[in-house]
């Protein structure tokens, strides 16, 4: 508590003299996150239809990449492969999905991202729900103490996120190679382009625009130095990251929903609900 005497009587949650619709933004953010959380949970627990192999294609859902389990045989529909068995260390009473082991990394990255932090502290934690609007709780620890002090390790999540961009770029590359329709999965492949290939290739690009605008990266490539002008490569990297950083929020949203969309596309094609359009 402060020794200076301030007049404000903490008016309680939602108290404000603001006359604009300040509650719209946190509400929209709240529901957008909720929508993504609900969809990704649903997608994780499906644990099937994540690898489309119909028409000789090879599209892997980003939520299930890299392929962790041994792949089962091609399903009777010819559109997808059967999910592999759970690894031996997995406790039997928990339903297994390879996506669980994969999604912890992007989840940790986005959870500890400076933009997301600011946004969900407002929309989910109401701390504050909006600027100059009263808060529900008196006690406040911020990021100074446990648990949120852990957010300081964001840069480690960044290192993994960069690896994932490489993995997803590889998936994009693989989506350009097709077998003859109905042929064995490891029979020779030739170059081709399906709508799914374009969708899969755009994914690591959007993720890069988000990831390479990261505040921690901005610090690591140059921001930590007081003098950057003595190294033109460093200065250029810093300026690039700073440029992306200005639009970090926008790329955060676009790339997040796009990952969900790519999963949905692969899933719909695998289940036969949608047909992948072959362009080349």
């Amino acid at each position: 508590m402060s020794t200076i005497d301030v007049p404000l009587k903490n008016g309680g949650f939602g108290s404000t003299r603001r006359t604009d619709n300040w509650w719209i933004e946190p509400l929209v953010v709240f529901f957008c996150y909720l929508a993504f959380i609900v969809y990704s949970n649903w997608a994780v627990f499906q644990a099937k239809d994540y690898h489309y192999v119909g028409n000789g294609a090879d599209y892997l859902s980003p939520m299930y990449s890299p392929m962790l389990t041994e792949e089962g045989p091609v399903a009777a529909s010819g559109l997808t492969t059967a999910p592999g068995p759970a690894p031996s260390f997995w406790p039997r009473f928990i339903p297994f999905s390879p996506a669980m082991l994969i999604l912890v990394f992007p989840l940790a990255f986005r959870f500890s991202c400076y933009y997301y932090r600011g946004a969900y502290y407002k929309a989910w934690w109401l701390d504050p729900v909006s600027c100059a609007v009263g808060e529900p709780r008196k006690k406040y620890l911020g990021e100074k103490y446990f648990p949120l002090i852990v957010q300081n390790l964001h840069r480690y999540a960044l290192y993994f996120a960069i690896i994932f961009i490489a993995l997803l770029a590889y998936d994009g590359w693989k989506s350009l190679w097709f077998t003859a329709p109905g042929a064995d999965l490891d029979s020779p492949r030739h170059f081709g382009v399906g709508l799914g290939s374009l969708i899969l290739i755009l994914n690591p690009i959007l993720l890069s625009l988000y990831t390479f605008g990261c505040h921690s990266l901005r610090h690591l490539v140059g921001g930590r130095k007081d003098v950057m002008s003595d190294n033109s490569t460093r200065k250029k990297c810093y300026d690039c990251v700073s440029g992306l950083n200005k639009k970090h929020m926008m790329w955060a949203w676009i790339s997040m929903f796009y990952v969900g969309f790519v999963d949905l596309y692969v899933r719909m094609c695998s289940s036969g609900a949608w047909h992948d359009l072959r362009i080349l």
Binding site: M1, S2, T3, I4, D5, V6, P7, L8, N10, T16, R17, R18, T19, D20, Y114, R117, G118, Y121, K122, D127, P128, C131, A132, G134, E135, K138, Y140, G142, E143, K144, Y145, L148, I149, N152, L153, R155, H215, S216, R218, H219, G223, R224, D226, V227, M228, S229, K235, N245, K246
Partner: protein, 256 residues
């Protein structure tokens, strides 16, 4: 008729201002109906009321140009400069509330005592130049390296960011947190290529940078449009991480 006049929203001939009156935190709102005309800002209306209806109303101002940082108040609940808030941006069909900043001790009417800020500033380690680069006692710096600190020098010390920051406003942590204004001030010194002092331990401890949860209200209210959170607070948080939280960076000296 020039374009700027033609596009100006037509204002009513008068408007009601609901102004906080009273001293030392006490008091209440009083409504004043006052004549207005196009081009006016809130401070003009307040001056009109002071001249015609309430000669004893206390209001602090100086430049009327958004440069001295004296006329900070809360207009319709938002921390803003009275001299930079044009009436044609407000809804004048309902009373416009004008009240003092809430995060500092109240003195009278629209005036608060912002001296806490001056005390905080004194606690921050002074600019400490490194050894001069040239024999004549001068330094060599590149513009590219002073771009960052120069953004923070635009600050007019209006303390609107301090007023809106929930760590101070809602949680009254004035003794443990220096607030966004002084985080950019620290950044301005820390990022200065000539400065040699080390403020990282203070940032973590006495300045309480960990209390900031990067919710960006300070950035939203800053009349100088300084990117307080993105360009000052987050970069400083990252420097604190180098020193105290990142085991690998610590192996390499923790950003010293």
């Amino acid at each position: 008729m020039s374009d700027s006049v033609a596009t100006e929203k037509a204002l009513p001939s008068s408007a009601i201002f609901r102004i906080w009156r009273g001293g030392n935190g006490g008091g209440g709102f009083v409504d004043y109906n006052t004549p207005i005309s196009s081009g006016m800002v809130v401070l003009d209306a307040v001056h009109g009321i002071q001249a015609n209806d309430a000669n004893d109303m206390a209001v602090r101002w100086n430049c009327k140009a958004g440069k001295c940082g004296s006329c900070s108040a809360e207009i319709n609940g938002k921390p803003r400069l009275m001299c930079m808030t044009r009436l044609n941006t407000l809804d004048l069909t309902v009373p416009v509330t004008v009240e003092p900043m809430k995060t500092f001790p109240h003195v009278k009417d629209l005036v608060t005592d912002v001296s806490w800020n001056y005390a905080v500033k004194k606690k921050i380690q002074k600019f400490t130049p490194r050894k001069p680069d040239a024999a004549d006692g001068t330094w060599r710096v590149q513009q590219a390296d002073v771009d960052r600190p120069q953004e923070f020098r635009k600050c007019i010390e209006c303390f609107l960011c301090q007023d809106v920051c929930h760590v101070l406003r809602d949680h009254n942590l004035h003794d443990e947190f220096i607030g966004p204004r002084f985080l950019i001030y620290t950044a301005q010194l820390e990022m200065n290529p000539i400065d040699a002092a080390d403020r990282i331990p203070d940032l973590k401890d006495s300045c309480g940078i960990g209390y900031c949860n990067i919710t960006k209200c300070c950035t939203k209210v800053c009349p100088e449009e300084i990117h307080i959170t993105d360009n000052a607070i987050i970069p400083l948080k990252e420097r604190v991480v180098d020193r105290y939280f990142d085991p690998i960076a610590r192996l390499f000296g923790g950003g010293k």
